[in-house]
């Protein structure tokens, strides 16, 4: 391995070193604040090396990873998300009786896995990243000993993720059996000349099931509301962002580099998945009385929007996907982050009735949550609007009328779900029901900083995303 490729691998190496340092720290001396600072610092350092490489990319690392602009962009998002989750988790874990160090360790390992997926140039690397991510998540989801729902969610995730991995492995096996390679550039060349081959198509189909599970798109979404509800709020934030973002990155590579959507049959399959996700996500969000479940369904719908953008094809579509993921990351992290920051000793005010009248008791954080919800609804001046605008723009540019119609109808439905939360925050009185609502606590400094940064990012993306658009444009050029 030459010095150049060592430099290219720097983000991943820094993350692995951070994980090791956390491991040592947990053995030597338990110190929550140091663990958090180490995790945040390590992630930030990894991000810095990534920025240093620039969006142009530094070539490839072994045949396994392609350090291109798009992969690095998504990796950057994942690292920032990890940083934010670390900050949120610090206050959240206090008084829960759980150790801090292992949480940060697992989180950093999960981030390494997600980054490896985003940078994968070889399906083997992709699978390794996926497993590293999943195994870390099993533990993270069931992390708090006092939450029975967390244990249930962890087991559910374990069983379903293992099942989906089996589909994926079998699918990859079939692809390898037919084409004799798992390297994406090789596959792209081979697929073009392969023609129609049932075994190959079956292999692709089985891998799509694996993706679908990670993306939690309909009909592979059943686990996500339970897991989001049961997992500690910072972990839900990570599952909803980093894990989905990494899977979306791989999907874009499948679409663009393997030319999957150029085949009408696959385009139809993904169009149906997108439409079903948008409709089901928004419709089921209406029925929820738990904010975390509501966000889970909302996130299903949002991945449907991302699929619409991805299906549009061409540079505009890749830019829309990248921007959408950035805005979606900031929004979802913020929404879960506020729940996490309000939590005390593992008890989360996530039922809608817990939120009644909070607009007056916690004006700043309620305003921030309202901003997040408006961004999810796609109201202007928030990142969510610019993102949705770019998706619709990509759709109109490629004349995907049917999908656009579903997108518009379902976002009108989704609006009602988000407004319900706003109504609860500001327009309902706090009641003392027999089941006493969980009181929302005050913010810690770390969570406050993370949320301030997320609100700032959301407004920046919504009001003046000139620089962001330019970065994304140069980052996505590498795909084509």
């Amino acid at each position: 391995m030459s010095l150049v490729s060592l430099q290219a691998a720097a983000p991943l190496l820094v993350m692995v070193a951070t994980a090791l340092a956390l491991l040592v720290l947990a053995m030597v001396r338990r110190q929550p604040l140091v663990a958090m600072l180490l995790s945040v610092g390590g992630t930030a350092a990894a991000f810095a090396t990534l920025v240093h490489q620039g969006t142009s990319g530094a070539g490839s690392l072994l045949p396994l990873f392609a350090l291109d602009g798009f992969g690095l962009f998504i990796t950057g998002l994942i690292l920032l998300a990890t940083c934010a989750v670390s900050l949120m988790a610090h206050g959240y874990l206090t008084d829960t009786g759980a150790h801090h160090e292992e949480f940060h360790l697992l989180l950093v390992l999960a981030a390494v896995g997600a980054s490896a997926m985003a940078l994968a140039n070889h399906l083997l690397a992709f699978f390794l990243g996926l497993e590293l991510l999943s195994v870390s998540l099993y533990a993270l989801i069931a992390y708090l000993p006092g939450r029975p729902k967390g244990l249930e969610a962890g087991v559910k995730y374990l069983v379903l993720a293992a099942g989906s991995s089996a589909f994926l492995v079998f699918g990859l096996g079939l692809i390898y059996f037919r084409l004799g390679s798992l390297s994406l550039p090789r596959l792209a060349a081979l697929l073009g000349s392969a023609g129609y081959d049932p075994i190959l198509q079956a292999g692709l189909g089985l891998s799509v099931v694996g993706f679908g599970f990670k993306l939690a798109v309909v009909p592979f979404h059943f686990w996500s509301p339970d897991v989001y509800e049961g997992a500690p709020a910072p972990v839900s934030a990570f599952v909803a962002t980093a894990s989905k973002g990494a899977a979306a990155a791989v999907l874009v590579r499948f679409f663009v580099q393997l030319g999957l959507v150029a085949e009408p049959w696959w385009a139809l399959v993904f169009a149906v998945i997108a439409a079903a996700s948008m409709l089901a996500g928004n419709l089921l969000a209406l029925l929820q009385t738990n904010l975390k479940r509501l966000l889970a369904y909302s996130s299903i719908a949002h991945l449907g929007y991302v699929l619409v953008a991805a299906l549009a094809g061409g540079p505009r579509s890749a830019q829309a996907v990248a921007f959408y993921l950035a805005a979606y990351f900031a929004t979802i992290l913020g929404a879960f982050g506020i729940i996490a920051a309000w939590s005390r000793a593992g008890r989360e005010p996530d039922q809608l009735r817990d939120l009644r009248g909070l607009g007056r008791e916690r004006p700043w954080s309620s305003a921030a949550l309202t901003l997040m919800l408006l961004s999810l609804a796609g109201i202007p001046l928030t990142g969510g609007f610019m993102a949705k605008y770019l998706v619709v723009s990509a759709g109109v540019g490629s004349t995907l009328w049917g999908l656009l119609f579903v997108l518009l109808a379902s976002s009108a439905i989704g609006l009602y779900a988000y407004l319900r939360v706003v109504v609860t925050l500001y327009m309902r009185q706090r009641t003392m029901d027999p089941a006493e609502p969980v009181a929302a606590g005050r913010f810690g400094l770390a969570a406050g900083l993370a949320l301030l940064a997320l609100v700032g990012a959301l407004l920046w993306l919504g009001v003046y995303p000139r620089a962001a658009l330019a970065w994304i444009q140069s980052a996505t050029e590498s795909l084509f």
Binding site: P380, V392, V396, L419, V423
Partner: protein, 514 residues
């Protein structure tokens, strides 16, 4: 830069009012009053400075322009421009804002800081809507004005406020999304044919469109504005929102938010899609005429005074729709005056309804009657606005309706005649309202305190402007005339008029051009 200040003054006022709410309950209203006074003053200053009209990119009679690049990679610019019609609308925004602040002065019992902040933020959004000529920027303002309005209804409204607020938001949002798609299609069609991808209105005017596509896009824009206006069939949100909003909120809704729909039709829908609009004109005018009659009938049937006034809005805004789609010089002038006069008279009616409700704790007409003896000043003011609403000559609404009907007659006789029947029906429901409230026997135990100085001042100011417009509308007509001329001249006669003599200056122009 003056244009940005028109938006910034209420926006900064909103933030200050919110902060002021932490230091006392009285401070926010003074901040709000200062902000609306500042905006109105700046608007009046622009009006009196009498700038010379000039075209932008060969289109229109603009008075001022402010242009900053925003997102060049998307073809989005921060492009504000002011012409006669926007100037009148901005002045109206300041005036109605001042009335709303005056009416809400003592009525806000919870969170006054947040209340006045929402009120001012709505005004900032509305002002932006009236000034933006970049479609993307317009869409941003169009959406942004909804959110504070939603909170105004939802937090400070009456019993069914949450239902009304959510319904208002969702109706408007559906229309907006359709407009967004239509906007984007126009953007791509224009970009592909000319190579320049832009949302700038002057550049997009005159884009060549396939007739079928043009009609679809026109309907997309029309949907957004028709929901706001409201047009018959899409008006369902309006009675709930108006009735459940707090008094100041109803005044903003009726006075300004409905006008943004009419403004959008004049500024965007017809100029961007002249051919489709011409094809659609008979249908739009039919919707207008039936809306006038339907609104009048339902207004007659109401026993809730706020719902009654809300339905009169459906009826009165029908005249605006009629005038816009007739697209003659007279009918457009009439539509502009109707927008102003309806804002003033309906704003006053909502203010009166709020005052009655505040005193009687009911909105039910059955609990009212014979109040003239107890509250003669309120009765006299109510009489003036009732007369304005039914179109009595001498008050602004008469001028407006007369111009609209006169201007529309040759464009579509049947619908204009039907609409004229609406004027008669307006008399019926207006007199019924007035009689049920101020004449007849007093219900058992009902006591009504007469108007105080603040209330009388607000209503007198509105009445004075209505009388001024009724007797001497020339300054208004002169301000909007260049815009109307430019808009009609740049079209290839969208609604083909048989009666070309209507354009002859001096004859039927009611002395607009001396």
């Amino acid at each position: 830069m003056a244009l940005t200040w028109l938006i910034l003054i209420p926006l900064v006022g909103a933030i200050l009012a919110w902060l002021a709410g932490r230091f006392g309950d009285h401070l926010p209203r003074w901040v709000a009053l200062g902000a609306v006074a500042g905006q109105l003053g700046l608007g009046l200053g622009l009006w009196w400075s009498d700038p010379t009209p000039y075209p932008i990119d060969g289109h229109g009679a603009w008075l001022l322009e402010h242009l900053v690049t925003w997102l060049p990679s998307l073809g989005v610019r921060y492009h504000l421009a002011l012409d006669g019609i926007s100037l009148l609308m901005v002045l109206l925004t300041g005036l109605i804002g001042a009335v709303a602040v005056g009416v809400a002065w003592k009525d806000v019992d919870k969170l006054p800081g947040a209340f006045f902040a929402c009120l001012l933020a709505t005004l900032a959004g509305v002002t932006g809507v009236f000034l933006a000529i970049d479609l993307f920027l317009f869409y941003v303002f169009w959406e942004v004005m909804l959110i504070p309005m939603y909170f105004l209804i939802g937090i400070w409204g009456h019993d069914r406020r949450i239902y009304a607020a959510v319904k208002f938001f969702i109706y408007t949002q559906v229309g907006s999304l359709l407009m967004l798609v239509a906007m984007l299609v126009l953007y791509f069609v224009h970009g592909r044919s000319t190579g320049s991808y832009t949302f700038d209105l002057p550049a997009l005017l005159g884009t060549r469109l396939d007739p079928g596509l043009g009609m679809l896009l026109m309907l997309g824009f029309f949907a957004a504005f028709a929901i706001k206006l409201p047009v018959l069939g899409l008006h369902n949100w309006l009675p709930d929102a108006h009735a459940e909003a707090p008094t100041a909120g109803s005044i903003l809704l009726a006075g300004l938010l409905l006008k943004t729909g009419a403004y959008g039709l004049i500024r965007f829908t017809v100029p961007l899609f002249p051919d489709a609009a011409a094809t659609f004109a008979p249908w739009a005018m039919a919707l207008a005429a039936f809306g006038i009659l339907y609104g009048a009938k339902l207004a007659f049937a109401q026993t809730d005074i706020k719902r009654l006034v809300a339905y009169t809005s459906v009826s009165h805004m029908g005249f605006v729709l009629l005038g816009v789609f007739a697209w003659t010089s007279l009918s457009l002038q009439g539509a502009v005056i109707q927008m102003i006069c309806h804002a003033l008279s309906t704003g006053a009616m909502f203010a009166l309804a709020g005052m009655l409700m505040h005193r009687l704790h009911t909105r039910d007409l059955d609990a009212m009657g014979g109040f003239w003896a107890q509250a003669p000043r309120m009765g006299a003011m109510a009489l003036i606005f009732t007369m304005a609403s039914l179109g009595l000559p001498g008050l602004g609404n008469f001028v407006a309706e007369f111009l609209i009907l006169f201007g529309s007659f040759d464009a579509n006789r049947v619908m204009t005649i039907l609409a004229t029947v609406g004027v008669v029906l307006a008399t019926v429901y207006s007199l019924r309202w007035f009689q049920r409230t101020f004449h007849g026997p007093v219900p058992e135990g009902a006591r009504l305190k007469d108007l105080g100085g603040r209330e009388l001042g607000v209503l007198l100011a509105l009445a004075a402007v209505l009388i001024w417009l009724g007797l001497y509308p020339r300054p208004i007509l002169e301000t909007s005339q260049p815009v109307v001329d430019a808009a009609r001249a740049s079209q290839s006669e969208p609604i083909r008029l048989a009666a070309s003599d209507l354009k002859r200056p001096g004859k039927l122009d009611l002395g607009v051009r001396p």
